[in-house]
């Protein structure tokens, strides 16, 4: 049985007190806290072998190259990729999604499908691709509770569809999409699927072979890893066919100079997508984060978060003045709850009050998901508040969060 209180002690930030209160950090859907093993792994790079990987032949260069390659293997294990070369380091999921949008060639006049529930990073790269390349773009609307009607997917994906971009787990409603069914429909009709796994990967077991997605985008900073690190997974044959996103050093096997012409010979994936000197400390920290989460077990983490979410939802549902966005079916959710309170004019008041009075840290705004807020009749200026739970949260955190909301409502009604 997992000792969750021992796990809390791995996170130095939780040792802080603000205005005499312990931190209640409920903003992991934006950025997770970092455990000591991740910090130590990154420090080891800076303290022991802060050199260039993949090029310098000296001892420090060899050590960083080995650590960098090992980190990729760890990430491949974490998502169960068939080949480590299918894992491309990026700055975040946004960059990963942009690589797909920019570098994947799709037939002229074809259709891209996305949803009303996407994070802007899951929709805008494809909105822009459609605009640039004269493609059609269709939006499948999420239901008000954040779930999808599979019949709408069957109707939307046709033989003209080249690509589907879908958020696997919503950063607003926390609902988990029926990805495997959607992938099956898409593949039957010849379309590829890119899955935004920024919110799914940190909280559930992500098996890219099981889901059979063609591309998957991860933000490693949301899964206990360093900020500025993300991952693009792509099936190897697709990555080989794609254009480069950035070009330059480290992407080429050779660059010949013949008859006044510069002729590049590009490397296969992953190198063709990783131009220039890389964030070695970040990659090594990412591998450590994957190791850390796997050592606890993603099923265990999923269960723990859903237990906390269940406690929070039960309390919220008993309170007046609160509107919860998204389904209350725990089995369809990642560990987050988004809500409004009708006694305050803006969700930012909720985040400010909880922070100032209770050291409870939640996110407020439209969470880079304006279309879904408009769909639900919530103007971005009013916004919603979001509390997101992770492996280092406990029942006490939930109770303080509820205590804070109770005090807020009493003071604002």
């Amino acid at each position: 049985m997992t000792d969750w209180e021992r796990i809390r002690k791995d996170f130095p930030a939780l040792e802080r007190k603000i205005n005499g209160r312990p931190i209640v950090y409920l903003d992991s859907a934006c950025m997770s806290l970092k455990p000591r093993p991740v910090i130590d792994a990154m420090n080891e790079y800076y303290l022991r072998f802060p050199a260039c990987g993949g090029r310098s032949i000296h001892t420090l260069g060899k050590e960083v190259s080995e650590a960098y390659s090992e980190a990729r293997r760890k990430m491949a294990r974490f998502i169960n990729a068939a080949h480590e070369e299918e894992c491309i380091w990026t700055r975040n999921a946004t960059e990963a999604l942009n690589i797909v949008a920019r570098s994947l060639r799709v037939p002229k006049g074809s259709k891209i499908i996305t949803t009303s529930l996407e994070h802007h990073s899951g929709s805008l790269p494809f909105v822009e691709k459609a605009r640039r390349e004269g493609l059609k773009l269709e939006v499948v609307p999420a239901r008000s509770d954040g779930t999808f009607d599979i019949e709408q997917w069957k109707a939307a994906i046709d033989s003209q569809t080249s690509l589907v971009s879908i958020v696997h787990s919503s950063n607003v409603t926390g609902t988990v999409a029926p990805l495997r069914e959607i992938v099956e429909i898409a593949h039957d009709r010849g379309a590829l699927v890119v899955s935004d796994d920024a919110q799914y990967a940190p909280h559930h077991p992500l098996d890219v072979q099981f889901f059979d997605v063609d591309f998957s985008a991860l933000s490693i900073h949301k899964m206990c890893g360093p900020s500025g690190m993300g991952l693009l997974y792509g099936k190897l044959d697709l990555l080989k066919e794609m254009d480069m996103f950035l070009t330059g050093g480290d992407t080429v096997a050779d660059v010949r100079y013949e008859n006044g012409k510069i002729i590049p010979e590009y490397l296969p994936p992953p190198e063709k997508f990783e131009a220039g000197l890389q964030n070695y400390a970040g990659a090594i920290g990412s591998g450590a984060a994957a190791d850390y989460l796997m050592s606890i077990g993603m099923h265990e983490i999923e269960r723990h978060e859903r237990k906390l979410l269940s406690r929070a939802l039960k309390a919220l549902q008993e309170m007046d003045h609160i509107r919860i966005l998204g389904t209350d079916d725990i089995d369809l959710k990642t560990g987050l709850v988004t809500f409004t309170i009708d006694t305050v004019t803006s969700a930012h008041d909720i985040a400010t009050f909880l922070n100032d009075e209770f050291a409870v840290m939640v996110r407020s705004g439209a969470h880079c998901a304006h279309p879904f807020h408009y769909q639900e009749g919530i103007l971005p200026a009013k916004g919603t508040a979001r509390a997101s739970f992770y492996l280092y949260n406990n029942d006490t955190d939930v109770d303080i969060f509820i205590e804070g909301l109770t005090a807020l409502i009493a003071a604002s009604v």
Partner: protein, 78 residues
């Protein structure tokens, strides 16, 4: 040149013309054309309110929580 961020300068300019405002009123006013030269980062509002809170820390603005939520006011020095 002010050391304050553009968001913070925007909040100050809005509050100069009002006794006190709610959070959503500030965000709505920030979108008006007359503030478009300075108020450009208020779409989601979070960065904007973070700037307002910074002004509270600097003693330039006060906020008071009550019915309806926070009301923000400029600290006026005679």
């Amino acid at each position: 040149m002010s050391d304050l961020s553009r968001n913070a300068q925007c909040v100050l300019r809005i509050l100069e013309n009002a006794e006190s405002l709610t959070t959503s009123e500030i965000l709505e006013i920030a979108k008006r054309p007359e503030y478009s030269d300075i108020c450009t980062d208020c779409a989601g509002g979070d960065a904007f309110i973070a700037a307002a809170n910074e002004l509270v820390s600097l003693g330039l603005v006060t906020k008071r929580f009550g019915k309806g939520g926070y009301r923000w006011s400029l600290v006026r020095r005679d």
